[in-house]
């Protein structure tokens, strides 16, 4: 890497329905109710921001840049990220949601401009649950990916990443630059203090229309219908262990 270049981390975040909100499906099947619902930084993305800040605080990065893709009113989300401690933010304005591959294309353009040594994202957004954008960015950028990270150790030229996989904990060694996606146990994001919120108001926030990025935003996946999941029926209550055992035996389960 060119040593005159600041060591920069790009963190991509998404604004989603707050994870505490119990979502409701619209009766006409056209989607979920979003009016008046609390919106927040996707929890996995907050972990991504925290990790980037910790790397900078350890002296292993010079700058943390936050990017989001979304409508005009999602700048408040970027201000929150700046209040956590990031240096500046980029808002790519897209009025309607992009498909994951187009999100990755936008992030690729940003990576080519910003030349980060790490791009960190949440492993998935908790609205669409797609779990695609980070991997797609890594593919388009032709760089390594380390998804579902629960531990990250850096050298000047590589990252050792522990990943939460079905079989246990896998460790990969990847060359930099690389794309990292975060899992829940990577860290616990900090709480933002009021003075930081004030300070964040004056931090640089660049606005870029999607057209300027040169990504068209094609729609290839159309949601035809959104339905509530089939509910499970509440079953029976038993009063003691003997009854529990009898019930399990009757159903051939013990």
């Amino acid at each position: 890497m060119n040593s005159s270049q600041p060591r920069r981390i790009l963190v991509a975040i998404k604004r989603v329905v707050d994870y505490n909100v119990r979502i409701r499906v619209k009766p006409d099947g056209s989607g979920v109710v979003l009016d008046g619902v609390k919106l927040s930084i996707n929890p996995f993305d907050a972990i991504a921001i925290e990790e980037a800040l910790r790397i900078k605080e350890r002296g292993q990065a010079d700058e943390v840049v936050i990017a989001t893709i979304g409508p005009a009113d999602c700048q408040a989300t970027l201000r929150n990220a700046l209040a956590m401690g990031a240096q500046r933010a980029i808002h790519v304005v897209a009025d309607s949601p992009l498909e994951p591959l187009d999100n990755a294309r936008v992030l690729l353009k940003l990576a080519e401009r910003e030349l980060p040594f790490l791009v960190i994202l949440g492993k998935q957004a908790i609205d669409d649950d797609n779990n695609q954008t980070g991997q797609m960015l890594a593919a388009l950028w032709n760089r390594p990916q380390a998804t579902f990270a629960s531990k990250l150790e850096l050298t000047d030229t590589s990252a050792k990443v522990t990943r939460e996989v079905d079989a246990g904990l896998e460790t990969l060694d990847v060359d930099l630059p690389a794309v990292i996606t975060t899992d829940l146990r990577l860290n616990e994001p900090r709480f933002v203090k009021l003075p930081e919120i004030m300070k964040a108001k004056t931090k640089p926030l660049a606005t870029l229309p999607l057209s300027e990025i040169g990504v068209a935003g094609t729609v290839r996946m159309k949601v035809q219908k959104t339905e509530p999941p089939p509910g499970r029926q509440r079953g029976i209550m038993v009063k003691d262990t003997a009854e529990l055992f009898a019930e399990l035996s009757k159903r051939g389960l013990v």
């Binding site: 908790i126 695609q132 593919a139 939460e164 079905d166 990847v174 949601v223 959104t226 079953g235 003691d240």
Partner: protein, 316 residues
Amino acid sequence: MKKILVIAEHAGGKLNASTSKVVKAASALAGSEIAVAVFAAPGSPVAAQAAQIAGVTRVIEVANAVHEHALAAAIAPQIAELASSYSHVFGPSTTFGKDLMPRVAALLDAPQVSDVMAIESATRFRRPIYAGNAITTVEVSAERIVATIRIASFEAAGTGGSAAVEAASPTVAVPTHTRFVSLAAAGGDRPDLQSANKVISGGRALASSDAFKLIYSLADKLGAAVGASRAAVDAGYVPSDMQVGQTGKIIAPELYVAIGISGAIQHLTGIKDARTIVAINKDGEAPIFEVADIGIVGDLFTIVPELEKLIDASRK
């Protein structure tokens, strides 16, 4: 005719059960040709195992020492090369497939449908969003479609197939920027959590790593796998690979016993396809009882040993 390329998942010379379920999902597109691609080290028995899955038309084996451990960065470009004549590329929605398939989709300039729970046609799929609190039907228009298959939604395909195994050697360069270092498996002799018929899970109420012995003991009596809630994992009682729920494993066993688990939405997402859910909890208002087929309110430290004794007695 649709041509579907299924990416096999395997480890330690053994085909993962997820592969058979993905084949089953693919067979929903009647009259399709289903090929299974196996990326393995030379001499691996996995391709032969894949050939026995019912419904598989052919097995494409890419034998290369770099495939000793599955690395998305190494496999994805080769899949993209092999996929040129296929209409669909499917992988399992396990951490293997979730890591790999979007990388494949990007290289193919194809849209990916994640966590497919039903295939309605070659272009129409059902998938959960918002942690399974809504189900969408998605219509896809693209020359090639990549998908990950939610394995809890499909049965395994049968066996008895005898597909031909063909060797393939993609010409694309395999990147060296990503290296496998280690895998720390919790392992043990218990059944695999993701494919077990019975699963016993413990939650925060166990209150210690030591108390999980109760869970292990009951599980071993029943030949069950052991799972845990996120609270129990975060508290350090058990390793993270035991987590059941939206961000852990999504499972569909015949029997799921939730012990000392209150039933956060994220946990319920992981178990709602279980055939029978049993809940043991001291809080009668716990949300787990809303989905339980059999519920009992009481102290797990009393009920679990009592239950184990009754099981013992019934087997004498």
